[in-house]
């Protein structure tokens, strides 16, 4: 009896989003990066196309981060200099994008000025040719100020800027529209809010192919299954022609995975967990590999050793 390969026929696909802009397009990037466009479940090449492979954005912060030594020692001296750090991520670690996070803008920290942040963005733009993802600090009022200044200073570069949230999206969406950038729309592990936020942003006039979904990923062992099922549902929605859920997804894997105790607690403290060096790398790599299976398009990562593993995983899955 012959076996017929069962192939699902989907009526639609994930939208494609272009990040960055070359000189001909009004920016200064050496090449743009396109994400999304899948017409099937992740990596099911036999029933649809995965036109663009998932990409990795490596995290660079404007102030020296308080990350685990296991990560910082791989980054080395450049950790004091965002431009040099970004360059190392691209040249040595093979990052597709640079994710620039302005923790230093936080009013409760260094309270760095918006102008100062914009200057650093310019320096990083000069140092690398890949597109940038830029997020401010976790104080939403200050974030709006910082991102507005950066959006203006980098007009035409088509940065991916964040964060737009349901109760705070208007000023940042306006900045994205006026200065031709792409926007991250974040929802708190809630597909209904995710969809509604996309509708609200789109109603302001930002096209659907200028929006990236951030579903608020969780680290392995700390609720990853919630975001896993939400991402799966969003992908199925996109394939069934739900345009308001058809944007590519960004996952801040590095931040979430490295918050987990398993990623930084020593072997002396927890002998049963084994060697920290391996565990730290794997905690981030497995978190990333998990969300790849439900359609992550952009992985934001920190640990260069984990990046290397996930790059190999993506290459294998792309066949």
């Amino acid at each position: 009896m012959p076996v017929t390969l069962v192939k699902e026929r989907y009526s639609s696909k994930v939208g494609e989003v272009v990040l960055g802009a070359t000189p001909e397009q009004g920016g200064t990037r050496t090449a743009t990066v396109t994400v999304g466009g899948d017409s099937a479940l992740p990596f099911l090449h036999f029933e649809g196309q995965t036109i663009n492979r998932p990409v990795i954005a490596m995290e660079v912060t404007d102030v020296v981060p308080t990350w685990s030594d296991i990560i910082t020692k791989q980054i080395g001296d450049v950790i004091n200099d965002p431009a040099a750090w970004a360059k190392k991520c691209v040249d040595e670690f093979g990052a597709d994008l640079i994710y620039l996070k302005f923790n230093g803008a936080d009013p409760e920290g260094e309270n760095r000025s918006p102008e100062d942040c914009a200057r650093i963005v310019k320096e990083v733009l000069a140092a690398v040719g890949v597109p940038l993802v830029v997020e401010g600090c976790d104080d939403s009022a200050k974030n709006n100020e910082v991102i507005t200044a950066i959006a203006e200073a980098a007009t035409g570069e088509n940065l991916l800027i964040g964060i737009a949230e349901q109760d705070n999206y208007k000023s940042i969406a306006a900045a994205a529209m006026v200065h031709k950038h792409t926007l991250i729309a974040r929802s708190p592990l809630d597909i209904n809010i995710c969809k509604q936020l996309n509708i609200l942003i789109n109603e302001m006039g930002l096209p659907l192919n200028k929006i990236i979904i951030d579903p608020t990923v969780a680290g392995l062992g700390f609720g990853i299954e919630y975001v896993y099922s939400i991402m799966e549902r969003a992908r199925l929605g996109a394939l069934a022609n739900d345009k308001m859920l058809s944007m590519p997804i960004i996952c801040t894997v590095g931040y979430e995975a490295n918050r987990c105790k398993e990623a930084y607690a020593s072997e002396e403290e927890f002998p049963g967990w084994g060697n920290l060096e391996d565990r730290g790398v794997l905690w981030e790599a497995v978190t990333a590999s998990g969300v790849l299976q439900v359609g992550a398009s952009i992985l934001v990562m920190r640990n260069p050793a984990a990046v290397k593993l996930v790059q190999k995983n993506i290459a294998d899955l792309m066949g």
Binding site: I191, N192, K195, Q196, I199, L200, R233, A234, G237, N241, D242, K243, M244, L245
Partner: protein
Amino acid sequence: MLIFGERINGMFTDIGDALRNKDPKPLQYWAVKQEEGGAHYLDVNSGPAIPTEERVAAYEWMVNVIQEVSQLPLVLDSTNYNAIEAGLKVCKRPAIINSCPAEQVKIERVFPMAIQYNAGVIGLTMDKKGIPKDADNRVAFAMELVAAADEYGLPMEDLFIDPLILPVNVAQEHAPEVLESLRQVKMLANPAPRTVLGLSNVSQKSPDRNLINRTYLAMAIASGLDAAIMDANDDDLVDVAATCQILLNRSIYADSYLKVFRTR
């Protein structure tokens, strides 16, 4: 849930006059207006306005003038299959043939035509003797139509079974039988055929037509209805269709779901 806009029908005076005078404006007006209301397809019916010998030319003209202003696919509604074929020849997007009863002679005419023009078929659960009273006989006719789809190679999701709703004021006992038919039709094949109703029939000559239409629409969708030929400009009715999508978890909830349903 697919909405087939019912308004371009020669039974309505403005469309009947337009057909007689070869005036495209009323057809084009309703094409655009129904699309704005939420229609996914436009039903096209010349009604009795055009003499039989002119129907072929009339359908070709209707399809062409509607396609000048609307991207929506069409449902070609006639008992004259030569007229339907003339329309299919000029359709730019895959259309649906409305309709074919469970009669061998008509199946032999309609199903090959559907395959040839990549069209869907609305199959009526009736034969020469008329509309059956109970669900069992409706489902038996549906099974004949499902077998015909299989025989001619029509994809099951391109077959729309219409279990034929009748006016509740004169044929009240049919309404629950139609709901039961919808449930059973969904179990006839895998994938199942789709289902459709000429919704407005249920309220013919009753008061409060809109209330009857929207109540029955919700009941029918819950029983397995996939499409309805209906008033796409009855906002409350379209709201019911949108809300059913949400309550049956067919579309992901968002606060603006009513708006999303209308803007694809």
